[in-house]
């Protein structure tokens, strides 16, 4: 079966995040109401419900919070990536995001390892934020 991989469709609220990735920049929201970082992008802060959310560029660096090697595709679209190196990354700002690990052998993956962004332009319009050791 020929399946097109699902890609994100940015919304008015989330577009700055995806636009940033297209320019090789990681931008996330910071809440001016309670001084906390916010991910994924929202219209109001999930800590204090303030709508004073400001986009800020960050390094994108962080550590590996957890991962798994999916030895069976999580959907048929990902059959070519088996084993999928699914990861949860904790940015230095404290927020977590879902990603996949690249440029690393499964046996070298360790929870707590330092990670840096790998900008993966998957279409003309969309860049995914994957992670590699760094």
């Amino acid at each position: 079966m020929d399946l097109v991989k699902p890609i994100p469709r940015p919304s008015p609220t989330t577009r700055p995040f995806w636009d940033g990735l297209n320019e090789r920049k990681v931008q996330i929201q910071r809440c001016d109401g309670c001084d906390s970082w916010v991910f994924y992008p929202r219209t109001r802060c999930p800590s204090c419900l303030s709508d004073l959310l400001i986009w800020r560029e960050v390094s994108g660096q962080g550590v590996l919070y957890t991962y798994t090697l999916a030895r069976q595709p999580t959907a048929p679209h990902f059959a070519d990536e088996t084993p999928q190196q699914l990861a949860v990354v904790e940015l230095d700002e404290g927020v977590r995001m879902t990603s996949t690990l690249v440029n690393v052998e499964p046996s070298d993956i360790v929870i707590g390892m330092r990670l840096q962004p790998y900008f993966d332009q998957v279409t003309d319009a969309v860049t995914l934020l994957r992670y590699q050791p760094g």
Binding site: T14, A75, L86, V88, S99, R130
Partner: protein
Amino acid sequence: MGLRGHAAIVGFAEFKHERKYSGPRLFTVEQWSELTAMALDDAGLQLADVNGIACTDIRESGMFTPATIVEYLGQPVNFAERIDLGGASSVGMVWRAAAAIELGIADVVVCATPALPIPSNPEPRAIDPRRFFQSSSNEWGSPQAEFEIPYGNLAQNCGYAMIAQRYGAEFGYNEEAMAKLVVDQRQNGALNPLAAFYGKPTTAKEVLASKMIADPLRMLEIVMPVAGGGAVVVASREVAERCRHRPVRITGFGEHLTIKTPTYAKDMCVTPVGPASRQAFTMAGLEPGDIDAAEIYDCYTITVLMTLEDAGFCAKGEGQRFIMDSGMTHDGNFPLNTHGGQLGMGQAGAAGGMTQVVEAARQIMGRAEVRQVSACDNVYVSGTGGIMSEQAALILQGG
């Protein structure tokens, strides 16, 4: 705060759980009729006694589910709930039914989770692409569509695997303990004629040799999908007095929801079943040490491990040692999932959690036959939906 323990489970029904279903195919509403008839008959009640239902979704209709079911059954009700808590739905049904009964708005509530295959459609429709994304939503605007699915973070296995991997990094991961959990439960399941693994115990060696699906979870630590389904009848104290069996009083409950995707959990190793269980125990006036049997939702071994800890049966980080040191078969010192759990029964979709509720009732009523736990008066039940997203707990006590 909470229940007075006046409502009770008075009857139950359960289809045989089978990997390859051997019976006639029935639509969900038809299965509702079957389960209702079986459970009412078990309790010694009539359709006319029913004035409440609790349901999950049905295959024949996307909306107006409760009205569709009561029309099909032919019985008007005062109380109808459609519960959307995945594997926690059965526990969610039972406490809502008890609450409605204690409020005085219903006397007899049927809670059912049918999950047999429906008849094949003679006009097959094109495959719905949403099917691939299972319990994640790929709809426009869904956070999962934007931040999970494009990376392949969907389906349940990987979410639970990533929780287990994090648990291992924080507390250590003992594969032997996880294998023992499976072995003890399958031992119980081997004695349960309604279980898919009836007569089929397993060994630690077999568990540890089973295929790695998503590290560190192996195939035999993951539930097998089956056909099945079950139901319970919850009734008022007055009705319970004229029923056939020992009433199974609902004396405590709790429910807690936190996230859809574990990435965003405050701490991936602290699960919602903690607050849910503490509320349930407090309401019932019991402590974990008072429990005679625990029927713990077991979609994966990691779910049981973390529930044992977060519900307070052992300290955080001590769960694997607790499993190694305890006899968890029906005749052990810590009877756990005495029906085999879903690892032994098989998982019939959202009906999986009903097996835990039914077995708790069966044990308290003293009807578990060769699996009967001696002097079984107080049972803890948990339900888990999503990926440790939403969890619920019940305390059931013999009346």
